[in-house]
């Protein structure tokens, strides 16, 4: 019988420290993925992880196969049941995290740990596919620390450290690697088009929809993620002029408003616009997966790869799946479509039959009272909203079939959608062409970054009525009920109805913090192939192509490696503390004019000093003796006497002798 071969190091069971760190890494990965895992799967995986950790602490050993295989099957089934398949981002991530946790069950040897850690690194990166915000990225990068510490813990023969201290070297290593990482990040050539698949950008928030049903904004109005950031050339418009138009909605079916979908409508010339003053601005839009591009007030023309619709909506050629930056110019004082064509008039007056009879009656009554004075009717409607006991609330009572009637005459409560919808229906019933416009209104002016931050919660709906001689005029009926909505913004209008975190100081902090997010979004996330090409313009390379970037990456990597090598090869000469102490003594004596001559030995020098300072002869003689003994009696000066000598030199004062 041959003796069993000694197990190779990678097959030997790992120690408790490595396993603890591995479990910590896995827990971090699970935590980072838990927001988009089904809650029951997250809890189940956490329980498995905790149980395995506890079990391994008590007794090392693999989990038996009869337990492992059913768990694997269960996991796959669970993912299929939840998502329908195992491909795609969400199911893929769920499966990956599940497999990672199950890998822990059979992890006993160094090899398993290495496989697990590699996979965990991949899973960490996958977490960034869901959220690539600054904080998420930093947390994920910190997740590398336990991973690196686990790899270190696998190496045998180490000086003992505590668990938290074991994480620090990874931090130092990452910090040292950061310059090279940043350089590589800047110079790795980006792909102008993906190699495979359509990158699914589900992280986009839906934002504004292309239809509006009173009551469906509620989720949007409580979502304070950034929708877009706007910077203006020159002074920004005052708060009550910050209306960003997205959709112009014409079609009302008694319940919902819809815009004219350009896919089903023949292309038309944009409505004519007479401009008195205009402003230029740049918008950086968060991904929406929709084609609409919000524009300030009334845009003059569409940016590149977008078209201006007849009603001056701007539609991009492709859905906005990534952050999009565009520059535009808009009119601030204008006359939009002073001559209304027949089609627009028809569209602007159309109402579904058999809906809202009481509203029709009220409109007819106004028309009778004010005759042909459209402006007076508008005023009457605004007056109704202002004085009719209407209330602004984000949680209005539900409305029935005749939604406008119910709102105007019964519930009296709602928010911008209700007001604009009811107002527009009133106008149309009175024979005034009117339409609903949705978009954003307000925003937070960040004075540190000189830009306007518009959140989803700034979503707004207002109306436009066509008045003879003035064209389309914006009327914001919400402002009649609650003027703060227009002048101060959505949060002020909502008052206490929003959750606790919207209180003032926290909100202020979040607003200020947004400048960091903006920097991150623009500088890091928005650094695409196009901007990379322009990266080297300051160095005279106008259009850096892949080859240039590759060469540059290679050159600068070599440079960094050279710096690293220089650090690695540097041999630090050990300091000689004894020599340092003697130098200090020499400096003190030199101040009294007793300088050491170039070729003078310490004994001769200190004897000379003792003769020159007879008052301190004994002290100097003792110093000299200690020095000579420390220097010549040992290979290395022993610690304690050396320290005593250093103290003696430090305490040595030259006493001025008065003669």
């Amino acid at each position: 019988m041959t003796p069993p071969r000694p197990k190779s190091p990678s097959e030997r069971p790992i120690d408790a420290r490595a396993f603890d760190l591995l479990s910590l890494t896995m827990a971090l990965v699970l935590g980072l993925h838990s927001p988009h895992l089904p809650w029951w799967l997250g809890i189940a995986l956490a329980l498995i992880l905790g149980w395995r950790w506890w079990q391994r602490r008590r007794q090392a050993g693999r989990v038996p196969r009869w337990l492992k295989l059913p768990l694997l099957v269960l996991l796959t089934l669970a993912v299929i049941v939840q998502y329908g398949n195992i491909f795609g981002r969400e199911p893929g991530a769920a499966l990956a995290v599940g497999l990672l946790i199950l890998k822990l069950l059979e992890t006993e040897a160094a090899r398993d740990v290495r496989v697990g850690i590699s996979f965990a690194c991949f899973a960490l990166m996958a977490a960034l596919l869901f959220d690539q915000g600054l904080i998420a990225t930093v947390v994920v990068a910190l997740g590398l620390l336990p991973a690196l510490a686990t790899l270190r813990a696998l190496e045998p023969g180490q000086l003992p450290t505590s668990l938290p201290r074991a994480l620090l070297p990874g931090l130092a290593l990452s910090a040292a690697a950061l310059p090279l990482a940043l350089l590589a990040f800047l110079l790795v050539p980006r792909l102008s088009s993906p190699l495979w698949g359509a990158p699914s950008q589900d992280q986009a928030r839906t934002g504004l929809g292309d239809s509006m049903t009173p009551g469906n904004f509620t989720d949007l109005l409580t979502d304070d993620h950034p929708a877009m950031r706007v910077s203006f050339d020159g002074t920004p418009p005052p708060p009550d002029r910050r209306y960003f138009r997205a959709y112009v909605m014409w079609n009302f079916d008694g319940r919902s408003w819809r815009h004219l979908d350009p896919r089903y409508a023949p292309p038309r010339q944009p409505a004519p616009l007479e401009v008195a003053s205009s402003i230029r601005y740049q918008i950086s839009l968060q991904p929406t997966r929709r084609r609409v591009l919000p524009m300030l007030d009334v845009p003059l023309q569409a940016p590149a790869q977008a078209t201006l619709q007849a009603d001056r909506e701007v539609m991009a050629d492709k859905p906005v799946n990534d952050q999009l930056n565009y520059a535009a110019r808009s009119a601030l004082q204008y006359r939009l479509q002073p001559d209304l064509d027949e089609r627009s008039r028809r569209l602007g007056l159309r109402l579904p039959a058999d809906f809202n009879p009481r509203t029709h009656a009220l409109a007819a009554q106004w028309r009778q009272r004010y005759g042909s004075d459209d402006a007076a009717i508008v005023q009457a409607a605004l007056g109704l909203f202002h004085d009719g006991g209407f209330r602004y609330t984000l949680a209005p009572a539900p409305l029935g079939r005749n939604s406008v009637d119910d709102f105007l005459f019964d519930t009296h409560e709602g928010f911008c959608e209700h007001y604009s919808s009811a107002f527009t229906v009133l106008m149309r019933a009175a024979g005034i062409p009117a339409r609903v416009v949705t978009g954003y209104q307000g925003g937070y002016w960040n004075k540190y970054g000189n830009y306007l931050l518009v959140r989803y919660s700034d979503a707004h709906a207002w109306s436009e009525v066509w008045l003879a001689g003035r064209g389309w005029v914006r009327v914001d009926p919400t402002g009649a009920v609650r003027p703060e909505r227009v002048s101060l913004g959505a949060a002020a209008a909502a008052g206490d109805q929003l959750s606790w975190y919207r209180n003032d100081w926290l909100q202020g902090l979040r607003n200020r913090w947004d400048i960091v997010n903006r920097w991150w979004d623009q500088g890091v996330i928005g650094f695409d192939a196009l901007r990379q090409r322009g990266l080297l313009t300051p160095f005279g390379i106008r259009d850096a192509d892949t080859a240039t970037l590759g060469v540059l990456l290679a050159i600068s990597s070599v440079l960094f490696i050279a710096i690293g090598l220089a650090w690695a090869l540097l041999r630090r000469q050990p300091r000689d503390p004894l020599r340092g102490a003697l130098r200090e003594l020499e400096r003190k004596l030199a101040r009294k004019g007793i300088a050491r001559r170039p070729a003078e030995g310490p004994q001769h020098y200190l004897s000379r000093a003792a003769r020159a300072l007879p008052g301190q002869r004994d002290e100097l003689a003792s110093l000299m003796r200690s020095y000579l003994e420390l220097r010549y009696a040992h290979d290395e000066p022993p610690t304690e006497p050396l320290r005593a000598f250093q103290h003696a030199v430090r305490d040595f004062r030259i006493v001025n002798v008065v003669k």
Partner: protein, 317 residues
């Protein structure tokens, strides 16, 4: 297959010394420096770089800059770990080697004293197919005990010792060869059985054979002493019980071991027999002298004497 590879390696090392970094033996202390430290990625390192590549392509494909940044960070940290691996060997010093004693066929214990001015982790030493890991705290030197397999008696040069580390992440393996110019003395193996040495004429006089019946002294009673050993008369005059102490039977041979008396045997057989006699004499704590051609060791006893005799035997031509 493994044999063939090893033979090939040995051939290559002798034929192509520049290529295979074969170093001639050198005297201690040996300090590792950049010209003799080599680094290659480990299998795990290669696998990890494939993973990094996959992450890179994924991040680029999904145009996810955060993921790309993370990949770059991980890649740069891996590259930096190569320098750390180098630095954990650079400046490492093998101060001295202390060899123990062993007879041929038994492993010989070598103690390697490594020292360093800064702390180092996870340094490994390979000798044969055995690996040992140790750490240095930057102050005291590390004593690494290795077992050197031995085959035959005599001076045996130390083999090449590989010092390596895959610290910190196991991605790279830095190594260096140590080939100290030092030999260890392997003692001869004793024969298994054979005749007793000739007892010299005056042997009996020196053999104090105490058969356990000679009273040596009285001592205090200890639990477990047989009752019949108690000195009742003497105990009566004392507070405690006294026990008669008998000297243990012991043979202390005084042997004169002589090469010349082992005629008719070849050299190695003579050495093996002398070695066995030396072992027996040492086991019995005897007094013995040894005569060898060109070397006469006067009588003595104790481990030093034994080592002296064995070394003399080992060095016979």
């Amino acid at each position: 297959m493994r044999d063939l590879l090893q033979r090939l390696q040995r051939w290559a090392e002798h034929r192509l010394p520049a290529l295979t970094r074969y170093r001639r033996p050198e005297s201690l202390p040996i300090e590792l420096h950049r010209r003799r430290i080599y680094i290659v990625p480990t299998g795990f390192g290669l696998g990890f770089s494939v993973l990094l590549l996959v992450m890179l392509v994924g991040a680029l494909n999904y145009a996810n800059n955060a993921a790309l940044l993370l990949t770059c960070l991980l890649g740069a940290a891996s590259a930096a770990s190569m320098l750390v691996a180098f630095r954990s060997l650079d400046g490492l010093r093998l101060g001295h080697i202390r060899a123990g004693h062993a007879v041929a066929g038994q492993p010989l214990e070598l103690t390697l004293a490594f020292d360093s001015r800064r702390p180092r982790n996870a340094i490994r030493v390979d000798l044969g197919d055995r690996t040992l890991a140790f750490a240095l705290d930057g102050r005291a030197s590390a004593q690494v005990k290795l077992a050197l397999p031995t085959a035959q008696r005599g001076w045996q040069p130390l083999p090449r010792i590989r010092v390596w580390t895959s610290w910190p992440l196991g991605l790279f393996r830095a190594w260096s060869w140590l080939h100290p110019e030092q030999s260890v003395l392997v003692w001869p193996r004793a024969e298994l059985a054979g005749p007793q040495p000739h007892a010299p004429a005056d042997d009996a006089r020196h053999m104090r054979l105490h058969r356990g019946d000679e009273l040596a002294a009285l001592r205090d009673y200890r639990a477990g002493d047989p009752q019949r050993h108690i000195a009742w008369k003497a105990s009566a005059r004392h507070e405690h019980l006294l026990v008669k102490d008998f000297e243990q039977p012991q043979s202390r041979p005084q042997w004169q071991l002589d090469w010349r008396r082992l005629g008719g045997l070849d050299n190695e057989a003579r050495i093996a027999r002398l070695a066995r006699w030396l072992n027996e004499a040492q086991a019995q704590r005897g007094h013995y002298s040894l005569w060898l051609p060109g070397n006469e060791i006067p009588g003595g006893s104790g481990p030093l004497h034994y080592a002296h005799c064995m070394s003399a035997l080992a060095q016979l031509p």
